[in-house]
Assembly symmetry: none
Homo-oligomer: 189 residues x 4
């Protein structure tokens, strides 16, 4: 039990170190020895948990994206009205960006940089399925513009990675509300 826990902790520490280092200086700065040292572990130990560097980064990416999705659709309720539901998701994601600052900017970096080996296309919005479905419903109800999800995403969710990524910014409720309104106005009919 204690044994297993210790292993899990080490794995987590390694992922965390990688996350931090990549955020600071890109993949090239996250060398195995630094990752190891930061996690208080020998370089060789990394290879007990990950096949190689690419695998380490890939797993970090996958788990981070899962964390993202989990947060995005927290308390998701299909029966709610479209706008309300959308607003909830939007705020969830905003909250994620603020709460998991490091994870969020790592994801942003992955989206525009070839650091992750992507099996499925990065931009197919697969990880946002419920949101895409919601938009579809909104379009059927005549509330949301008849444009492809791709665009809807680009004008509602994507801007957040820019707006909220700043470390120094203190985000006020007003600011968030303004941002949400812009998003909603961009896609509402």
């Amino acid at each position: 039990m204690a044994r297993l826990q210790k292993s899990i902790d080490k794995r987590t520490a390694l992922l965390k170190s990688t996350l931090g280092l990549i955020n600071e200086g890109g993949v090239q700065e996250a060398c195995m020895s630094k990752v190891a040292k930061m996690a208080n572990v020998s370089p060789a130990t990394i290879y007990l948990y990950f096949e190689n560097k690419q695998d380490l980064v890939n797993q970090l990416y996958n788990e981070t994206r899962e964390l993202f999705s989990k947060n995005a659709f927290k308390d998701f309720d299909e029966s709610m009205p479209v706008k309300k539901s959308f607003k909830a998701i939007w705020y969830n994601i905003a909250e994620f960006r603020l709460k998991y600052n490091e994870e969020a900017s790592f994801l942003a970096q992955c989206e525009s940089t070839p650091i992750v080996e992507e099996d499925r296309c990065k931009k197919d919005l697969h990880h946002l399925k419920p949101l895409v479905d919601l938009w579809l419903r909104g379009q059927q109800e005549g509330i949301i513009k008849e444009i492809e999800p791709y665009l809807l995403y680009a004008y509602t969710i994507y801007p957040m990675s820019f707006v909220l990524n700043k470390e120094d910014r203190k985000v006020e409720p007003d600011f968030l509300e303004a941002a949400f309104n812009a998003a909603w106005d961009a896609i509402k009919l």
Copy 2:
């Protein structure tokens, strides 16, 4: 004259090579020897034109951003009405993203990755001064929402780097129009 031209050509070839390699595989993939080989030049020659790798990347970034600005404000006319002027700029940028595909995705990569040493903050919109001024005028005229330029940018220009970055996508006029409308709706009063 021919001498000088040859030098300029070499410098340009080096920048172009770097651009291509970084786009393909990130900074780490753009090693000096590859850059040199791709530009039909000896590795040592790079150091006649650039201080070191970082300088090479920095100059590439600066010049690419200048190219961006130049294109964004092509035929810019302060006397035009706000919306028309904004639309012109927006389409200019879209055109840039499509015409200079490589340059554009490089810029996108720079925006979310620490590959460029940034003296001035990346996100101060300094390179978009005329657009910011235009927005200000729009706000004074009561046409545009009273939110900070930062947000205006996030919901009008920034999404393009997502929407138009896809290599495979064939962009139809309809699509562009829909995208512009979303942008405008997001910020108009």
Copy 3:
């Protein structure tokens, strides 16, 4: 009893794994973890039976050579005539090379490679004492050339490691006979 047997089995399995791996790819390919995995054992377990890698290889060498000797002088009878006795030994060794293919090519590898720490000189023929004595008798009887055992070995036994080492070769009785005749002709008076 069962306890002890299990231990012996493990030790044997480890030696066998080492043998196989070294034959396939040389000493460098026989790393402790592979040896362990192949023997269905933890790497740490190896060190219960052997001091270190060198010791493992040494013991493998010694035991293999003992196996060789045991086979070479199977049914050895001092009272038989020289040529008959020599022929018997020669065929014993040939049989060993064919039956214990792996062991034989491992021994061959040891003979020309510094993988074993040799206390006694590899080439002193110490493990072939009875054969050397037989040759001596043959020389006293005027049947065998008056040249040193070293040479006698080189032209009778040593060639077998070349001739019979081929995995794919199907050895016919004719072939064996021809080989033996060559050996005998080389040293007979």
Copy 4:
């Protein structure tokens, strides 16, 4: 000119270092840093002349074998009688083994160890073509036993790698003659 010579020298020094180290302790002992240091060169320099370690070893093997062949068939004259010609070749090879002690024992090591990537089978005697042809002629003339070249080689040339490989042995003409006689007796009709 001096430039080119210096390059060739370095390459040669690297091959020589590799040869020495492999002879002393097998391939595993010939690590790139040792090879480099022994050749008074930086580890990175090796990669200017060789693709990787395997390539280094392969090239060493190929060139050494060429050296062997060149020496073996020095002053080769097809018109000479079979036995005389064979004797000349045999002595050439013996001379090679004595003169190029290191090269010879390296070749011996290669013959029984998987350190070289072999496209053609190691044992097809391709590098001894003239000798094989000579044997054929000898068989047609009824001088040499009707056995395959493989066996002829095993009982005439192969034993030398055992007999003459010893560093400490001082080889007397008598010894050489005895060895040659054994070889000839083994295969003559």
